[in-house]
């Protein structure tokens, strides 16, 4: 287990290094970031001043290494729009994004698990068909369109939910629902597939033969094995939820990290964009790392499968 842990940790660290390169060079996609920051009204002299002030005149390798060095000390850079450390900006907004994504995640799990189990229990039956249609609709539904439809229904027609802001928990209902419906289908399908596979296993048949109550078999013996892949996917889904929060927070004007990312892009606040790309990726890497460990801990067989990356 220790070897496995350290192997995974090393590969996660290497991954972070590679991602840091991508995040750093992303802002050079337009060629010259100084011209981009100066904007359309900026003159060549403006761009020169920006180049000087932000150090874009140094060799790229020096810029990257100094940026990386600051990262290692926990300095994510300074926002040129707010003139504040990016870390402070993120810290101010992270609770909103966490509230949103955690409640969406809980909602998604709360819907996906029971429906997945029910669909597997009555496989090919009416329940199964309805559940699968429900999942397919969720997969085909553009998240932002679903969000707008909810605004039309709950805010315009019935006027029971607020459209924008983050003051009360009511403000989080529609955004969480939108994100949850986006993440739910994958989890539901995996739960269903896992349960169907486990329910056909020999030990389940043996338990049935021994007269163990069906509910006990379903929820205790089968679910425990079926849920392993769901754990892994949940971690990845949580990461993609953060990306989804960019769209959702913009629609509902929630002042979270996703909206900060989108507005920084619009404002050409390049240092903030860099830092946020890095943070979003790191969260994903850390989550998948943890879910790998969790899976290995739940199911020792996983250790040998992934133990040797070659």
């Amino acid at each position: 287990m220790l070897t496995y842990c350290s192997q995974r940790a090393v590969s996660a660290l290497l991954l972070m290094l590679l991602i840091s390169l991508v995040a750093f060079f992303l802002i050079f996609a337009s060629g010259d970031p100084a011209v981009k920051i100066a904007g359309e009204a900026g003159t060549a002299a403006d761009a020169d001043r920006i180049r000087e002030a932000l150090g874009f005149n140094r060799p790229l390798a020096v810029q990257y290494l100094s940026w990386l060095g600051h990262l290692l000390t926990g300095d994510l850079g300074r926002s040129i729009y707010f003139n504040q450390p990016v870390a402070t900006l993120i810290a101010d907004r992270v609770s909103t994004t966490l509230t949103l994504s955690v409640s969406a995640m809980l909602l998604a799990v709360a819907v996906a698990l029971p429906l997945g189990i029910a669909a597997a229990r009555w496989q090919d039956g009416l329940v199964d068909k309805l559940v699968l249609v429900f999942a397919a609709v969720g997969q085909a539904m553009p998240t932002f369109w679903f969000a707008l439809l909810m605004i039309i229904a709950f805010s315009v027609n019935w006027q029971i939910l607020p459209t924008s802001g983050s003051e009360t928990w009511l403000h989080f209902v529609m955004p969480s629902l939108a994100l949850a419906y986006f993440a739910m289908p994958t989890m539901l399908r995996l739960t269903r597939a896992g349960m169907i596979e486990t329910l056909e296993a020999d030990y389940i048949r043996t338990s049935k033969a021994m007269g163990i109550p069906a509910s006990l078999i379903l929820f205790k013996y089968a679910l425990r094995n079926a849920v392993v892949p769901v754990v892994g996917v949940s971690a990845a889904q949580f990461g993609s939820m953060l990306a989804g929060s960019i769209v959702i927070e913009s629609i509902f004007a929630l002042n979270g990290v996703g909206r900060l990312a989108f507005e920084s892009i619009q404002r050409s606040d390049l240092s903030t964009v860099q830092a946020l790309v890095l943070c979003f990726s790191f969260v994903y890497i850390v989550l998948t790392f943890l879910s790998d460990l969790l899976n290995a801990w739940i199911d020792p067989r996983m250790r040998s499968i992934y133990g040797n990356p070659a």
């Binding site: 970031p33 397919a136 913009s250 790309v277």
Partner: protein, 281 residues
Amino acid sequence: MATLLDAAERPRRRLTPKIDFGKASLYLSGLVILLIALAAIFAPLLAPYDPYAQDLLRRTFPPFWMEGTDHAHWLGTDHLGRDYLSRLIYGARISLTIGFVTALVSGFIGTALGVTAGYFGGRVDAAISFVITARLAIPVILVALAVVAMVGSSFEIVIAVLGLLLWDRYALVMRAATQQLRGRDFVLAAQIQGASHWQIVRHEILPNIVPPLLVVMTVEIAQAIMLEAALSFLGLGVPAPLPSWGLMLQEGKANVLFDPWLITIPGAALFTLALVDKGYP
């Protein structure tokens, strides 16, 4: 004991003969895709108006099922008085072109990486798998938004950005498919006969991975269409006045309180396309 096992294994009896809904819905969705594709191809013939022609005296007319509709515009007009049906039909062109071309670009990248990793294995595989993992860790929408914002939004840029980002699933599936083929007798036979790596890949591997490749492509075409819509919805996708469905949603968003159909119509088109793409009715 035997009876118990029999009871456990006895298949549940069906009282009614099973109608094959799966096949029916597959045909139905194929038909809908065909209709959308035909609408896209023959847009100039089908669209009743020029999708770019503005008429400020005829703004936000509602569609035919609502009161106050103008029968000259079946699906009404948008905030600039442009015919909504014409924009919707031309929008199918944008969505499908982006979906297909992106799939070609990303399919090529993903297949090249996946086949190389699966064929050579060992260190090559480890290196490519690492790159795939790195790609998975990158938040697609954030990077796409950032690049489009910096390079400038255009139809071609959106395709290039999506094509360069969405190859991960191709790479994963093609890698697994090639791994399965790698040890098969016909591949080994070709190897023994002295075929080069390229010949083996070209004649033995590639023809056999086409079916899974097509499956991934259908999924990824929908994925690319959705992402383009999301980017355009956020104002960093294809530029106005192109009639992208995502852009139509963005333009309609301002009027969501008074004219919700500006939102429901293009969204329903996107939703239908994604749903039938997955083979559901």
